[in-house]
Symmetry: C2
Subunit: 155 residues, 2 copies
């Protein structure tokens, strides 16, 4: 993944549309141990047992009712520091020019991450989870129950 400004040899950027087609509300904030990109694990498995905190905006408190029944939740968050104009990227680990939609890099036209996290506890509008690998302060955009029967293709 390129940093905010850097473009590597072989990477391709495009002009983005003049305006957005719809908008997102940030519904909370994710607190993790990682304050800058260099410290972030490369994927959720590398995050190991680290516990992160999801602070949901109290406006949406009632929407959490029932989520405590789930062992795992799907967390959608917005990678607000990622650039959005790269269609081909050269990941450091492979060195191979690859299309953005064939990568999980944060840099993409709509930098939304989808991560399955273990729900450790919930108190009020604060959830403690395991398995997130994002930067501290990352904006939350959705929470959903994880359902193995439909979220895993071969079950």
């Amino acid at each position: 993944m390129a940093s905010d400004d850097e473009i590597r040899d072989g990477e391709i950027r495009i002009g983005l549309p003049a305006g957005f087609d719809t908008g997102l509300y940030f519904i909370g904030t994710i607190r993790t141990p990682w304050r800058n990109r260099a410290d972030c694990p490369k994927n959720p498995r590398e995050a190991g047992d680290a516990v992160s905190t999801i602070e949901v905006d109290p406006r949406y408190a009632a929407a959490l009712s029932g989520i405590e029944a789930y062992a795992h939740i799907v967390v959608l968050y917005f990678m607000d520091r990622a650039r959005r104009d790269l269609v081909v990227q050269v990941p450091r680990h492979s060195g191979a020019a690859t299309g953005t939609f064939a990568l999980r890099s944060p840099a993409r036209p709509n930098p939304i991450a989808v991560s399955v996290a273990e729900l450790v506890s919930i108190e009020g509008t604060v959830l403690r989870v395991r398995g997130l690998d994002c930067l501290d302060g990352t904006p939350l955009i959705d929470l959903k129950p994880y359902r193995p029967a439909v979220d895993s293709p071969d079950r």
Copy 2:
């Protein structure tokens, strides 16, 4: 899930923030056999073997390079007909008042669906996939490779 206007007994709506925090680009369109909500399968498993088509905006053509290597892809799309102000909903199948974040209902503050689809074929910027259950004409917002090791919590 409520229709665009209907609110059921026990459902709770809130006032949404005055403005959006960020924006999304629609990067393509999903073509399915389902032209209205009543016809849609309730979840991807019910969609069975139906093949849908993902038409990616040619602006992003280069971003598809390498995606053909994956058997399954994660498809993010925007459920543009869903209301965004319900925090408690009463699903028809259960009749139980439940928080929005404990449901997979389209109605949510940011109506983004996450669906794992089988990649059947790709030609130019058109992908044929199995496993989507959305309305015909649904806006696409992202494609990612599906990685069982990180997308399924117990592998």
